[in-house]
């Protein structure tokens, strides 16, 4: 035992020295190859003009290209893109489910594509701090027209694109249906049966659930009446304790895991659990299969879940099998802490960053400009009168199977889109299949998104700080925190207040003070951008 330990230590040290030596070599080889910013003098002769107009772009490989269409690297759309944009674009697929792993290996070995993108702002932030990507303000100023105007027209996106005071990740705005995420549903027909109105406060919510249960609307008086769908995005939204957030308390940054409001959130779940308003197994119901089956079978009256396509099949099952069922969206109710909406995404969709080893940034800008200008529309919708026809200016798919095969995967190329400007929630009905059931759902879904967005999600700062120190703290205590919460909810031998105390203790012992300090410094440094 002792011997192996020594071995391990020895070899670790050896590996580290070797690694350091190698890294040293790599550094000296590269030298200061940071691309010099193009001079703003607007010379006619540009050094990039001599280079081939070529750019490589990462993309998610979802395995959605049919064999006869070709592959992600070569198909009808890649040809079309080359022709239309005038840039030789090469796509580098990364598997969707391991995207960051794969990108990291590509980056570490110098194989990464010129344009690297992710939905996750923190990932781009990590690349910025590692010096993998470069600032792009100068390129935009010098070479871009479309993106430049887009940023001017959408000033709220600028802070999201900015890291350390410079633009690193170009992003475009999500349309409304991309913003809405968490949401609740209630059975209006059940409300009518108990003669109550949709709840607007926490007390009313529990009064309604109690009435539902006592009336035995789910079949008997012991059965649960509330279903929950997968993500904790609703409850943590209502109590403003969402795991992605830091909240400001009198100018002080407090992480969502340790804010006072956790007491309310835990208490809410405890109440659901101890009164059997929700399935006793709800914490172990992976993918919420059991609870969603109850909802689709008309056995629950309230769905704490989501809006959008995650639940469409269950909703359609419900409406098909129970013609009398009348599910309606339920707006976020107020709690003792105030009124906060369930989780909504930030307006930024995808972040596109420029690899610092990129050969031809000018070509990259040309490609992205083209994409944001008109390329995205065709890639998202296909060719007019072949794949879609315009109904009141909204593209409607002509043949779903054909679309799925020939166009669906092309949306992956459209990483910048200008669709938020014209999108209205009513468009969803034009886009949905035309059978009555799908139309009914599309209409409900649009309403649900409106309802969900009507109460804003509490976001004290537009985006969260990211640093390895902070994420390490969370990674080390997360399992423990789940355990504490579960104990308070299921066992109930500790009060929510005690649970929060324990959580704070865990947080402190894992280095929470340091994380707080880093977050605070980050906030002081960046708050000027948050306007």
């Amino acid at each position: 035992m002792k011997r192996t330990k020594r071995w391990v230590l020895g070899s670790t040290i050896l590996a580290m020295t070797l690694g350091a030596a190698l890294a040293g070599c790599a550094k000296s080889e590269e030298g200061a190859s940071g691309s010099p910013a193009p001079s703003a003098a607007g010379k006619v002769e540009d050094k990039y003009d001599k280079l081939p107009k070529a750019v490589s772009v990462s993309m998610y490989d979802r395995g959605a290209v049919a064999a006869e269409e070709g592959s992600y690297e070569q198909n009808r759309w890649t040809k079309w893109i080359q022709e239309q944009s005038g840039v030789q674009v090469k796509y580098v697929p990364v598997p969707r489910n391991q995207a960051q792993d794969k990108l990291n290996t590509l980056i570490a070995s110098g194989e990464a594509p010129d344009l690297i993108w992710e939905y996750d702002r923190n990932y781009i932030g990590t690349l910025v701090s590692q010096g993998v990507v470069q600032p792009i303000d100068d390129y935009i100023n010098q070479y871009s027209t479309v993106i430049k105007n887009y940023i001017n027209d959408n000033p709220e996106l600028k802070p999201l694109m900015t890291f350390d005071g410079k633009i690193y990740g170009i992003t475009t705005k999500r349309p409304l249906n991309g913003l809405a995420n968490g949401g609740m549903w209630i059975r209006q027909d059940w409300l009518d049966k108990v003669g109550m109105k949709a709840p607007t406060t926490e007390e009313e919510f529990f009064a309604v659930t109690k009435a539902f249960k006592e009336k035995g609307l789910s079949g008997n008086t012991n059965a649960p009446v509330v279903s929950m769908f997968v993500w904790p995005n609703v409850i943590t939204g209502l109590y403003a304790t969402h795991s992605t957030q830091w909240y400001l308390d009198g100018g002080k940054m407090v992480n969502s895991r340790v804010v006072d409001r956790n007491v309310g959130a835990i208490n809410f779940e405890r109440k659901l659990y101890e009164n059997v308003y929700i399935d006793k197994e709800y914490l172990t119901d992976k993918n919420s299969q059991k609870m969603m089956a109850d909802w689709a079978q008309g056995k629950s009256g309230i769905l704490i879940g989501t809006v959008g396509n995650g639940i469409d099949t269950y909703m359609k099952d419900l409406m098909k099998n129970f013609p009398d069922a009348n599910p309606v969206p339920l707006a976020a109710f107020s709690t003792q802490y105030g009124k906060f909406g369930s989780y909504q995404e930030t307006p930024a969709n995808i972040y596109v960053a420029f690899n610092k080893n990129m050969k031809n940034p000018k070509a990259a800008i040309q490609y992205l400009d083209w994409l944001l200008d008109k390329g995205w529309y065709t890639l998202a919708n296909g060719i007019e009168n072949t794949h879609f026809r315009l109904v009141n200016g909204v593209p409607q798919v002509i043949d779903a199977d054909k679309f799925k095969k020939e166009v669906a995967y092309a949306g992956e190329y459209a990483i910048l889109r200008n669709d938020a400007k014209t999108f209205k929630l009513e468009d969803l009905m034009v886009k949905a299949p035309q059978d009555p059931l799908s139309q009914r759902w599309a209409k409900l879904n649009a309403e649900a998104m409106k309802t969900s967005l009507s109460v804003p999600f509490r976001r004290d700062i537009p985006y969260s700080p990211n640093s390895p120190e902070i994420s390490n703290v969370f990674a080390s205590i997360e399992p423990k925190l789940i355990e504490i919460r579960t104990r308070a909810i299921v066992k109930g031998d500790i009060t929510p207040e005690q649970a929060l105390e324990m959580i704070r203790k865990e947080y402190k012992s894992a280095g929470g003070d340091k994380a707080d300090q880093i977050a605070q410094e980050w906030y002081e440094k960046n708050k000027a951008n948050f306007k």
Binding site: D61, G63, V65, A67, N97, S109, D312, A432
Partner: protein, 289 residues
Amino acid sequence: MVVWKERVPRLLLYFILGLCTFSTLFPFLNVLAVSLSSGEAIRAGSVSIWPRQFTWDAYRNLIDDGQLFIAMKNTVVMTVVGTSLNMLVTIMAAYPLSKLDLRGRGLVLGMIIFTMLFTGGLIPQFLLIKNLGLMNTYWSLWLSGLLSTYNFFVLKTFFEGLPSELEESAAIDGAKDWVVLVRIVLPLALPVLAALTLFYAVGWWNAYYNVLIFIKSSTQMSLMVKLYQMIDNLDPALLIGDSTNANNALPPEGVRAGAAMLASLPILIIYPFLQKYFVKGVLMGSVKG
């Protein structure tokens, strides 16, 4: 004629064993049933071990666009070539190293054991593969997985256990080392070889992570990677935030179950034929009483 007294414990034993068998079969039957049921039935949670509202939709979705066959072909190539190379190298390494009088034996064994305890890590391996110019070829997988230390030791131990008189008598008759190995030793080692072949083949069949890392081209992916992707495409958690049109009437569970069936089917078909070798082979190389 068996007396009742003896029969009762026996029946009880059968009953208990039957119960055990069923409990191992149940999840499998459930997955099979789910893969053949309609989305509605799955969502309603009414499927146990018999398909409800029978439909091939999940399989149709998986097979429809032809990608699966390409991936299947890739995996077969990977498996056949990979396993052949593995066996070749394992035999050629294990046989000489099973000879106690081989010079430098300790050093070579030490080097092999070292790889069992320490790995370079993903990034160094990646750099190595890249600098060898093997990126995006199957050689990156075949060469980096050429020898499994564990399998090597199983075979080496087996070779060591063979009576040396056999080989000596052949040598006296004028057989060269090669001939001894091919004509005498390998036929005796068939059960072990079959077992190791299966070990290796299953490994290749399930190749996932390395394929993901070393193979870039989307048309060269292995079956497991493809299946994984297809399942992911239906995963609402991944679609949230993604702009994909998730207008998929298919139940993710059904497709997932179908993928699981397709992935395990070939191995299931092969296994019964190899099982007797398998059991023997695993016991070989262990200490004989």
